[in-house]
């Protein structure tokens, strides 16, 4: 899952980035409203974490502009503005959720997963596919009821593919889901992780569509 983090306080941004990376999210961080707009318009994200008091362009302004451009990206506002009027304004401007600083990282993670789940049209928090069950919250994957140990990157890759069964995801798209900006990506890392997943979960789970990318077939 690829997240756009818009936050002008370096300490908070660093902390959130580290925490989310540990949960298998790929995080891109921008510090001001202008950069947030261009990033959100140019690249595809699964979620935006948006601070309101931003340099150059206020967070609410960024949000309204995005919604005016029909960008449907789920947005979670992270702010110190705690007045009810501010919350109402934020949600009315097009935010999907609102979290007040200081916040708990576990709660942030849970809210993010809920937003992503809703975005993908699922009501259940667990993702099931055949004998495989994936829990985005606990990062647990089980096959036939038995736990399967996956690394954070392997998990991110599997989650991306399971989120849209039947859809072909290109190597670049998959890399985007796994890595944030500035993270070192090896030339054949996707292949390496696909290989590892096939080894752990069965060779025929992930199919290769030559020249296009990878997919997981819709439930038979």
């Amino acid at each position: 899952m690829r997240i756009l983090l818009v936050e002008d306080d370096r300490m908070i941004a660093e902390g959130v980035r580290k925490a989310l990376r540990g949960e298998g999210f790929a995080v891109d961080w921008v510090e001001d409203g202008e950069a947030a707009l261009s990033a959100a318009s140019g690249e595809s994200y699964d979620l935006m974490l948006l601070d309101l008091g931003l340099p150059k362009r206020d967070g609410l302004d960024v949000l309204r502009t995005l919604r005016a451009r029909s960008v449907a990206l789920p947005v979670l506002i992270l702010t110190a503005r705690d007045a009810i009027a501010d919350r109402v304004k934020g949600l009315d401007a097009g935010a999907d959720d609102y979290l007040i600083k200081p916040f708990d990282l576990d709660e942030l993670g849970a809210r993010m997963r809920a937003l992503i789940r809703r975005q993908s049209g699922r009501s259940e928090s667990l993702i099931r596919h055949g004998s495989i069950t994936l829990d985005p919250a606990s990062h647990q994957v089980t096959q036939d009821g038995l736990p399967v140990a996956l690394s954070a990157r392997e998990f991110a890759l599997l989650e991306a593919l399971l989120a849209r069964p039947g859809a072909v995801l290109s190597k670049t798209q998959l890399e985007e889901k796994m890595y944030g900006w500035g993270e070192e990506i090896g030339s054949n890392t996707v292949e390496v992780y696909i290989h590892a997943l096939r080894k752990k979960l069965g060779a025929d789970l992930i199919r290769n569509v030559r020249g296009l990318g990878y997919m997981i077939a819709k439930d038979a």
Partner: protein, 433 residues
């Protein structure tokens, strides 16, 4: 406790009593003059009514001892022919016309006249006249004296009624919620109470303003504390989540930095709150030269660590009246800003000169400076340069309170701050005492 009501009552009654007494005396004098006229006329008439033929001596036998009118008659040869009250204390001689004779039994009014062959003298004690005049005065005044208590009661009630608006104002203030600082109504007030209520309203307005400022400050402070606290919470949770020692050590370092930042903000808020009341600074003579030396000396190691050349270019002898601790906080904030925003390799120059008898402190740096359109706003609480401008914020962490504190302390010392461009290309802060 002095009571307006009691004082008014006392003085009004005192004035009334004094007035009544004066009136009584005047009436008495008037009545006495009239009685004199009347009785003199009576004496004259009696004398004229006496027979004018020569008398044979008639020795008086009806002397009862109480003197009404005493009659003496002498014949042409000066022989006392008749004396109505031989025991009267009158001198045995006659004087023509009216006269007042002083005797050991009081003053007597005496009238002597020649009637035919006789000399007649009529005498009457003045006490009769005095008593009459006193009676007249008393009869005129006694209703007033009887009315005096009622007058006092009326005064008491009228004054109470007159003071009603005051107690109304007091009641209105008394039943007020402590937060309710809206002005008292000024209409329907007597002219004498209006200035009081007006002054009270002005005070209430100032209080409301001060309270609003305080509230805004507390709200700002609470809001601004959220950010560093949010960072600390995240960092603490990252420490808890760390799986290996390396990550944990790194996370702990971050947490330490986060706590330091939160502490710094709390300290700055405290400094601002301490300098909050807009009164004047404690006045004591401060050696500016020595104080500035000390501040620069304290900052030198930090500046060196940041790779900034901090030094005093010139320092005159100057003293100001003020609070040495507050001035130190002010200089420290300015030096902190200058060394913080000046990139490594830059310099910060401090000057203390005396211009027109005013000490002038100048701190010049070679940092990025502050854009002209932001110079007025940097003294606002929590304002940080670049927050709204079309340029990136500096990398330096700060609380946004430093210059607000500087402004507050400068104001308390009647010093003016001017921001300008330094010769080195950065910011020049000029403090003029």
């Amino acid at each position: 406790m002095s009571s307006i009501r009691r004082q008014l009552l006392f003085w009004l009654l005192a004035i009334v009593v004094a007035g009544v007494s004066l009136a009584g005396w005047l009436i008495y004098r008037q009545a006495l003059a009239e009685a004199n006229e009347l009785f003199d006329y009576q004496l004259q008439e009696i004398a004229a009514a006496l027979p004018s033929e020569p008398f044979n001596e008639i020795l008086s036998s009806r002397d009862t001892g109480t003197e009404g009118i005493v009659l003496q008659i002498w014949n042409r040869n000066g022989v006392l022919m008749y004396y109505s009250h031989p025991r009267a204390p009158l001198a045995p001689r006659a004087e023509l016309g009216f006269s007042t004779e002083r005797t050991d039994r009081g003053d007597w009014r005496v009238y002597g006249a020649i009637v035919g062959d006789n000399v007649v003298q009529l005498a009457q004690p003045m006490t009769v006249r005095n008593r009459l005049a006193a009676n007249v005065a008393w009869r005129t005044l006694w209703p007033l004296i009887v009315l005096l208590p009622f007058l006092g009661l009326a005064v008491w009630m009228v004054v109470g009624r007159g003071l009603k608006p005051l107690s109304r104002v007091a009641r209105a203030l008394d039943t007020r919620h402590p937060e309710a600082l809206e002005p008292l109504p000024e209409e329907r007030l007597p002219r004498e109470v209006t200035p009081l209520v007006h002054a009270l309203n002005a005070l209430l307005e100032r209080l409301a303003q001060a309270l609003d400022t305080q509230k805004a400050f507390v709200a700002d402070a609470a809001h601004e504390l959220r950010t560093p606290l949010a960072a600390v919470q995240i960092q603490a949770q990252l420490v808890a989540r760390a799986r290996d020692d390396e990550t944990r050590r790194e996370a702990l370092g971050d947490l330490q930095a986060g706590v330091t930042r939160a502490t710094r903000l709390a300290e700055q808020l405290l400094a601002l709150a301490r300098s909050e009341p807009d009164g004047h600074a404690r006045a004591q003579s401060v050696d500016l030269h020595a104080l500035l030396d000390d501040c620069v000396l304290n900052y030198a190691p930090l500046a060196q660590q940041r790779g900034v050349d901090l030094g005093i270019e010139e320092s005159a002898d100057a003293h100001v009246h003020g609070d040495a601790d507050a001035l130190r906080v002010m200089f420290n904030n300015l030096l902190d800003n200058a060394t913080k925003y000046t990139p490594a390799g830059g310099r910060v120059d401090v000057r203390l000169i005396v211009n027109d008898g005013h000490p002038l402190v100048r701190i010049e740096d070679s940092g990025p400076g502050i854009p002209v359109d932001e110079r007025a706003r940097v003294f606002d609480r929590f304002y940080r340069v670049g927050a709204n401008a079309n340029r990136a914020r500096t990398d330096v962490s700060g609380t946004g309170l430093g210059l607000a504190i500087v402004r507050r302390i400068a104001d308390q010392h009647d010093a003016t701050i001017a921001l300008g461009d330094s010769p080195a290309g950065g910011l020049q802060v000029e403090l003029r005492f």
